[in-house]
């Protein structure tokens, strides 16, 4: 891998940028791998990268049915934060936030991680009590956070409507200054390039159609490019996890639903942080291009359509227009949906299964992007040692049978 640097940029400018090395190879699949990762999104590519880098396992294939980072990695609203309520979740997400801080240097790829702070708004007394509880829990876990009142929110976001005479008045917010946004595509591409440089095979246009088992152990996968053998198969397929599980007769505690987002036309810098509101199912930030990036809620029903219902967008935009009256005349450029794998306790599953060699990293629901590096890091450990990383252990599949759920619904200021 040729290193990217200011000097290389200058050097290649002399040849009109026509001689850059491809960021990754496009190899033919081998017959056998040590580990097969199904799903070439951010989490899958991060898993491959850390498997190679931390654990020295490089005979790895990432199988992607479409193109790298073309699923939910390309469809999210890029928010990164770690202000989760419960110890287990806050450890996992804060581990991820730590990795984010040095990710651009580590990958030699600019993921444009910008710690511009995240506000989670409270609109009623109970919201504010929940926010105080969560911020206190965060601080006990070493995660930065403060509780702000209306005036302090207004100071950070001058364009917000601070009238107390609206349907959802802003009574205050939690503020995590270390939160922010990152460039979603760059995260996938950076991990892909990094994994490829260690010799991981990234195989695109290769859909897994079946998982082959013998005597309760995985032996490989059937794909649209033929059979590929491996004793370890890791499914990192987000919304399609239920479909993968059904191939081996497993059921998961997951329901797949469309989650929507939309972006406006580019406007001048107007909002330099991330504003989320749990109660009204709306969140907004502004990209470096100037588009307002707006996230909505999930549809209430299961769907694999990668598009959401119009009335969900309508609810979100009515809330956004109330919070930011000046946005009412901004035109929306594009809207889309991604299929998210929602868990009953709004926490992920990073786990072995009762089939030897079959692993799942799924259930990230509406908030997986922030966890991309952390998820890959702990899952790589789970794959390499056949035993859960300490941060991943509470997120095993059997918590739904033992009852040790990690109930982050609403508590985390998660917008859904």
């Amino acid at each position: 891998m040729k290193k990217y640097s200011g000097f290389s940029l200058f050097k290649h400018s002399l040849s009109h940028h026509e001689n850059w090395q491809a960021a990754w190879r496009s190899p033919q699949p081998k017959k056998q791998y040590d580990v097969i990762i199904v799903g070439g999104g951010g989490h899958g590519l991060a898993t491959a990268y850390y498997l190679a880098k931390v654990h020295g396992i490089t005979n790895v294939a990432v199988l992607e049915k479409g193109y790298l980072g073309g699923g939910n990695t390309a469809r999210n609203t890029t928010i990164v934060r770690s202000n989760y309520l419960w110890d287990e979740a806050s450890k996992l997400y804060d581990h991820s936030l730590d990795l984010w801080k040095d990710l651009s240097q580590d990958l030699n790829y600019n993921v444009m991680f910008s710690q511009r702070g995240v506000l989670n708004l409270g609109h009623n007394l109970q919201d504010m009590r929940d926010i105080e509880r969560r911020v206190n829990a965060n601080r006990l876990n070493g995660i930065d956070g403060v509780v702000l009142n209306t005036a302090e929110v207004k100071e950070i976001v001058p364009v917000i409507n601070d009238s107390q005479d609206i349907r959802y008045p802003v009574l205050g917010a939690s503020w995590q200054a270390t939160g922010g946004v990152a460039r979603h595509d760059a995260v996938a591409w950076g991990f892909a390039r990094g994994a490829d440089s260690f010799g991981v095979d990234l195989i695109q246009q290769c859909e897994v159609t079946d998982i082959i088992t013998e005597d309760g152990a995985v032996v490989g996968v059937q794909t649209t490019q033929g059979f590929i053998g491996s004793k370890k198969v890791a499914c990192v397929t987000a919304g399609n996890s239920g479909v993968m599980a059904a191939m081996v007769g497993l059921r998961l505690p997951i329901e797949s639903r469309p989650l929507q987002a939309l972006v406006s036309e580019p406007v001048k810098p107007i909002i330099d942080t991330v504003v989320m509101s749990n109660a009204v199912h709306a969140y907004v930030s502004q990209s470096d291009k100037g588009d307002l990036v707006i996230g909505a809620g999930t549809d209430s029903y299961n769907g694999y359509g990668q598009r959401g219902s119009f009335h969900i967008v309508e609810h979100t935009l009515s809330a956004i227009c109330e919070l930011f009256p000046m946005f009412s005349r901004v035109r929306m450029n594009r809207a889309w949906g991604g299929v998210v794998d929602t868990c009953p306790d709004a926490c992920p599953i990073i786990s072995k299964t009762n089939i030897k060699g079959l692993y799942f990293n799924c259930g990230w629901g509406t908030g997986g992007f922030k966890a991309t590096p952390g998820s890959g890091h702990v899952f790589a450990h789970t794959l390499a040692h056949d035993e859960a990383h300490p941060f991943a252990a509470p997120f095993s599949l059997d918590r739904f049978n033992t009852g040790h759920l990690i109930d982050e619904h609403g508590a985390a200021g998660v917008a859904h």
Binding site: G242, I254, E255, S256, F400
Partner: protein, 109 residues
């Protein structure tokens, strides 16, 4: 937005009148106290979540306030039928596959 036919009201109404209440035909265990943790967890949380034909319950919240079942394709969002609680679906993934096979053979002959 779906237009869903409520088998009790006998009218098609907009989706917003209804709320979705999850996978259908999951029977409440008759003797919960006798169940293992595993079976109880399966009953509470584990779902089939198919990409394709799905039988699910909806609640007519702003209408008759009754639950009923819907057979819907989670990929195309086509609603195949709605039927009352306690009834079984007449259209399933199997019947659709069989119909497709018949149609295919019809084309061939």
């Amino acid at each position: 937005m779906h237009h869903i036919y409520c088998p009790y009201c006998e009218e098609a109404r907009e989706e917003e009148e209804y709320s979705y209440t999850g996978e259908a035909h999951i029977e409440r265990p008759k003797d919960p106290a006798a169940m293992t943790d595993e079976a109880w967890g399966d009953y509470l949380f584990f779902r089939s979540n198919p990409r394709g034909i799905h039988h699910e319950m909806w609640y007519h919240a702003s209408g008759c306030r009754r639950y009923f079942n819907v057979t819907r394709n989670t990929q195309s969002y086509e609603i195949h039928e709605t039927y009352k609680m306690g009834k079984l679906p007449t259209i399933t993934a199997k019947t659709i596959a069989a119909d497709a096979l018949v149609a295919q053979q019809g084309d061939a002959s």
